[in-house]
Symmetry: C2
Subunit: 374 residues, 2 copies
């Protein structure tokens, strides 16, 4: 089992002490709960298929029994739950790369967990691990499903964000599809989110001009002042298309698609010949129930793809898992030297999972959305 | 100047004697017209911007003066005019990779021409050349713009079709974007046209299952019986989507986009994960004046791209001009051994250019559309 994380070194303050949008400091203590509580887990289950934006009533909190850990298994206490927009797709009936979650089951998610007891030689009590689990506060899992984290190398929850799936989504989408070159213009929506913030910062390191689009003035200011974007526009302004044109006088060479909706509509007319569009998410559509467009809807778009020789390519970070070693090396170095910065939006307690999830889908998060169960 | 064409060898009957949809045999004699006629050319000019499908009144036949050929120039008599769907885009005002043709000017096109007189050592009277010219029966051009053809190697007009731009469009679009693999399913519309017919045949040679879509029973029969497609559906049937699903039980891995419109709508729900869509034309949209879709139109499509991890890429054959040598070698061999067959739809006389062009846009051509001025 390869340790996850980064080489030792001095960590910038903002990574040592992850702050939510409210600036709360989250202590990273590991408190072992009494072993007698290990037989049950509290879990958030999907109670109903949402109609549009999920609401609290679409979920329910339940207490479920856990089996005793068998040979090769570990009992885990969840420390951090990662919330990501793709999870919305797992709630609804649609053909997707991901499986739909049955009613009465919790949504899957990456978590950082602490080992309470272990029946496998590879892990011992107190180890902290990364594991793809579900919305619950305890789990029994095979040790081989867990990846051990080294808390001395990076704050463990970074494995859910900038050093994990969202960061790697940005890295691989740019490496294989977006390919920003020096002097080119890249646009990304959800610019202060877990993926968008890394897309912009890596592209700046590649020498591209980076224009963000984000929800609200505070996020725009953060994108420019802290993340180093060349400009950031508030997606809520009514004349987004014109204002985007004003800051993209030479057109757009790469558009990293995370949002869809109005942002994409503003970008589309500005795409240059040979522009690349990594399509990684369309959060604006997740709750609209928009069906694939009918016969009359697409000819103009296909013609645009043809005339401007655009490349649009959908991807999932799992398509590029061979990037993991180089990504971790590169991102560790960027984090250490301050080239890439990250921000976390942290809620506390499993009861807050649903409101944090809905808030993220509504764009109310500011940074990587995490729930701390510690 | 590298001779254009293929290595010597036995030529199949259908290439020696190109037949139009009506089965007419076209003699390949070169008749020199009297030199006194060389000072003028008959040309077809764009007289009005078409509103939707072009009509005869959007063009006019004119006689224009030609200059005397200067040093390094040649006087040419047009033998074959190539008509291709992309020319429709050159008639209208729109941002495109191609320039819009000014009113009063002829549309550009590739032609095969015969040298009537030459002021350059590289060409002599009687030589047959390929040149990007315009809709006219005579021209004065720089010899260096002309590529000499060897009539002993292939029928010269093949340089406008299967051995030229349309054939290479199929080849490069498949090589760089479509990449059909053995056992995969490829779908192409305009299946008996200059590009579609080659797309299907090359893909069959790569081991893919090939499903064509064409206009009418006769074309469908030809695609299966002569071109070797696995199946071909009539695009005019009302339940195209269902019938396409019936013959694509394992979904669609490559869709070579030439048509857009109803064909693409039928294909879209069947696209497999990781499907590739070379976007080379959308003939169904060329006359609709369809603007790029508005904000509400695309989210479902972008989400489909994301979920199925599709690749859509627009291209122009000029993007892959480095493929020319390997394309000519491969296609020559395929033509000689009968692996690839081609069909030409030939009209006669410059007066027929407009009706042949409109017929092609309406899908009434059957094979590569050519006008013979000989």
């Amino acid at each position: 089992m390869r340790p996850y994380g980064v080489s030792p070194g001095r960590w910038p303050e903002y990574l040592r002490f992850p702050c939510g949008g409210s600036g709360r400091i989250v202590p990273l203590l590991i408190r072992d709960k009494p072993a007698t509580m290990a037989r049950t887990a509290r879990t958030i289950q999907v109670a109903a298929r949402p109609d549009g934006m999920p609401k609290a009533a679409d979920f329910r909190l339940a207490e479920v029994d856990l089996p005793d850990p068998g040979p090769g298994e570990v009992l885990l206490r969840t420390m951090w739950i990662s919330l990501d927009p793709y999870m919305r797709g797992l709630m609804s009936e649609s053909r997707s790369y991901a499986q739909m979650t049955p009613l009465g089951h919790p949504l899957p998610c990456e978590v950082v967990a602490c080992v309470l007891s272990s029946n496998d030689a590879s892990l011992t009590k107190g180890d902290q691990v990364l594991v793809y689990d579900v919305w619950r506060d305890r789990a029994v899992r095979r040790a081989s499903d867990c990846r051990k984290l080294d808390p001395a190398r990076a704050p463990v929850q970074a494995a859910l964000g900038v050093l994990g799936m969202p960061g790697r989504t940005a890295y691989s989408g740019l490496k294989h599809i977006g390919q920003p070159k020096p002097g080119e213009t890249l646009v990304v929506g959800a610019a202060t989110g877990a993926v968008g913030s890394v897309v912009g910062q890596i592209s700046r390191l590649q020498g591209a001009r980076v224009i963000g689009i984000a929800g609200g003035e505070e996020k725009c200011r953060y994108a420019v002042e802290t993340l180093g974007f060349d400009a950031c526009l508030d997606r809520r302004v009514p004349d987004l298309g014109r204002r985007l044109g004003d800051v993209c006088r030479d057109g757009i060479d790469v558009y990293f698609e995370l949002t869809g909706g109005d942002v994409f509509s503003a970008v589309m007319p500005l795409l240059n010949d040979f522009a690349r569009v990594p399509v990684c998410g369309t959060i604006a559509s997740y709750n609209s129930g928009a069906p694939p467009p009918g016969p009359d809807r697409l000819p103009g778009f296909m013609r645009l793809i043809q005339n401007r020789r655009l490349t649009l390519r959908g991807f999932n970070v799992d398509d590029f898992s061979s990037d993991i070693p180089e990504f971790e090396t590169a991102m560790s170095a960027w984090l250490r030297d301050g080239s890439v910065r990250s921000r976390e939006d942290i809620s506390r307690g499993i009861e807050s999972v649903v409101s944090a999830f809905i808030g993220m889908l509504e764009g109310r998060n500011f940074g990587k959305t995490l729930v701390c169960l510690d």
